[in-house]
C-alpha cells in the first residue's frame, strides 16, 4: 500500500488519542490515549522509513517505544500514588497545579 494510506491511518489514530486525552475523566484511560498517540507516531515513523528506505526510522520507533514504556511506568506509578492519597483516579479532582 502507498505510504499516504498509512499516514492517514496514523493521523486518524492520533486524533482519536487526542480526543481521548481531552475528554476522558479517568486517568487510566487518558494514559491509554497517550499510548495511542505515541503508537500513531510510531506508525508514521515506520511508514516514512519504508518510503525513504532508511532504517533510522526504525531506530526512532524503537526509542519511542522505550519512551512509551518509561512513560507508562512512571505515569501508572503516579496514578497509584495519587489514588492512594486521594482515593480517586479522576482528573477532575487532581488539580493541585491550580494557580
Amino acid at each position: 500500500m502507498p505510504t499516504y494510506a498509512y499516514i492517514l491511518v496514523s493521523l486518524a489514530l492520533f486524533f482519536v488519542g487526542a480526543a481521548g486525552v481531552l475528554l476522558r475523566r479517568n486517568v487510566l484511560i487518558v494514559l491509554m490515549s497517550v499510548e495511542l498517540q505515541l503508537a500513531a507516531g510510531t506508525l508514521a515513523l515506520l511508514s516514512f522509513s519504508r518510503a525513504l528506505g532508511d532504517q533510522k526510522g526504525h531506530v526512532f520507533a524503537f526509542f519511542v517505544m522505550a519512551l512509551a514504556a518509561a512513560e507508562a511506568a512512571v505515569g501508572l506509578a503516579i496514578v497509584v500514588s495519587v489514588f492512594r492519597t486521594r482515593r480517586t483516579a479522576s482528573l477532575d479532582e487532581v488539580n493541585g497545579l491550580k494557580g
Binding site: 500500500m1 502507498p2 505510504t3 499516504y4 498509512y6 499516514i7 492517514l8 491511518v9 493521523l11 486518524a12 489514530l13 492520533f14 486524533f15 481521548g20 481531552l22 475528554l23 476522558r24 475523566r25 479517568n26 487510566l28 484511560i29 491509554m32 499510548e35 495511542l36 503508537a39 510510531t42 506508525l43 515506520l46 511508514s47 522509513s49 519504508r50 518510503a51 525513504l52 528506505g53 532504517q55 533510522k56 526504525h58 531506530v59 524503537f62 526509542f63 517505544m65 522505550a66 519512551l67 512509551a68 514504556a69 518509561a70 507508562a72 511506568a73 512512571v74 501508572l76 506509578a77 503516579i78 496514578v79 497509584v80 500514588s81 489514588f83 492519597t85 483516579a89 479522576s90 477532575d92
Partner: protein, 187 residues
C-alpha cells in the same frame, strides 16, 4: 533514495483495510469504554492490529516488539493498575470545563482535517506514493536495525536505557508504601 511505486496487490489491500480498521476501531473503543478493563482490552486489539500494520511495512523487528512490549508488558501493567484502582465511572466524560475541552477536540479535528486533506491532495508526490519495500538488504530485520542501534545510535541507546532505569526507580519510589506509624505526607 530510491522510491519505487508499484500497484498494490489485492491481498495487500485487503490486509491493510482489515488491519487499519482494527486499529481505528480499537482506538475508538479504547476511548469510549466506560469500564477501564474493556478499554485495556480494546487497546490490546489496537496494538495487535498495529503490529500487523508494522509487518506490512516490512518492520518485522518493530512488529514483534510491539506485541512483546505493548501488548505484553505495558498492557499487563495497565491491567494491574486497573485492578487496583478500578472504579467504574458514572460519567465517563468530565463535566468540569467541558466546553473548553469540546472546543479543543473540535480544534484538534480541524487540524486533523487540514493535514489529512493535505496528505490526500499531495498523495502523488514520491514520498507519499511509495508503496514497495525498499531494496535494502534485510530491511527492518533485527540484525540490520540492531546493527544501526549499536553503531550510530549507541549513545542514544545508552541514554534511553538510563531513562528506563530512572523510570523503574521512579516507579518504585512513587508507589512505595508509606508506613502507617510514620506521619503521612498527605495534607
Amino acid at each position: 533514495m530510491n522510491l519505487t511505486a508499484h500497484s498494490a496487490s489485492m491481498a495487500e489491500t485487503i490486509a491493510f483495510a482489515i488491519l487499519s480498521a482494527g486499529v481505528l476501531a480499537g482506538g475508538l473503543l479504547t476511548i469510549t469504554r466506560r469500564n477501564p478493563v474493556s478499554a485495556v482490552m480494546s487497546l490490546v486489539l489496537t496494538f495487535a492490529a498495529l503490529a500487523g500494520l508494522f509487518a506490512t511495512l516490512s518492520a518485522h523487528f518493530l512488529a514483534v516488539l510491539q506485541i512483546l512490549v505493548y501488548a505484553g508488558a505495558i498492557m499487563v501493567l495497565f491491567v494491574f493498575v486497573v485492578m487496583m484502582v478500578n472504579r467504574e465511572e458514572s460519567t465517563p466524560i468530565a463535566r468540569q470545563g467541558l466546553c473548553t475541552r469540546a472546543v479543543g477536540v473540535l480544534a484538534a479535528g480541524y487540524v486533523f482535517y487540514r493535514v489529512a486533506w493535505l496528505v490526500g491532495h499531495e498523495r502523488g508526490m514520491p514520498l507519499l506514493a511509495a508503496s514497495a519495500t525498499p531494496p535494502v538488504k534485510d530491511f527492518g530485520t533485527v540484525s540490520s536495525v540492531g546493527a544501526l542501534l549499536f553503531s550510530d545510535f549507541l549513545f542514544p541507546f545508552e541514554a534511553i536505557s538510563l531513562l528506563l532505569l530512572v523510570a523503574v526507580i521512579g516507579g518504585v519510589m512513587l508507589t512505595r508504601h508509606v508506613r502507617e506509624d510514620r506521619p503521612s505526607r498527605v495534607s
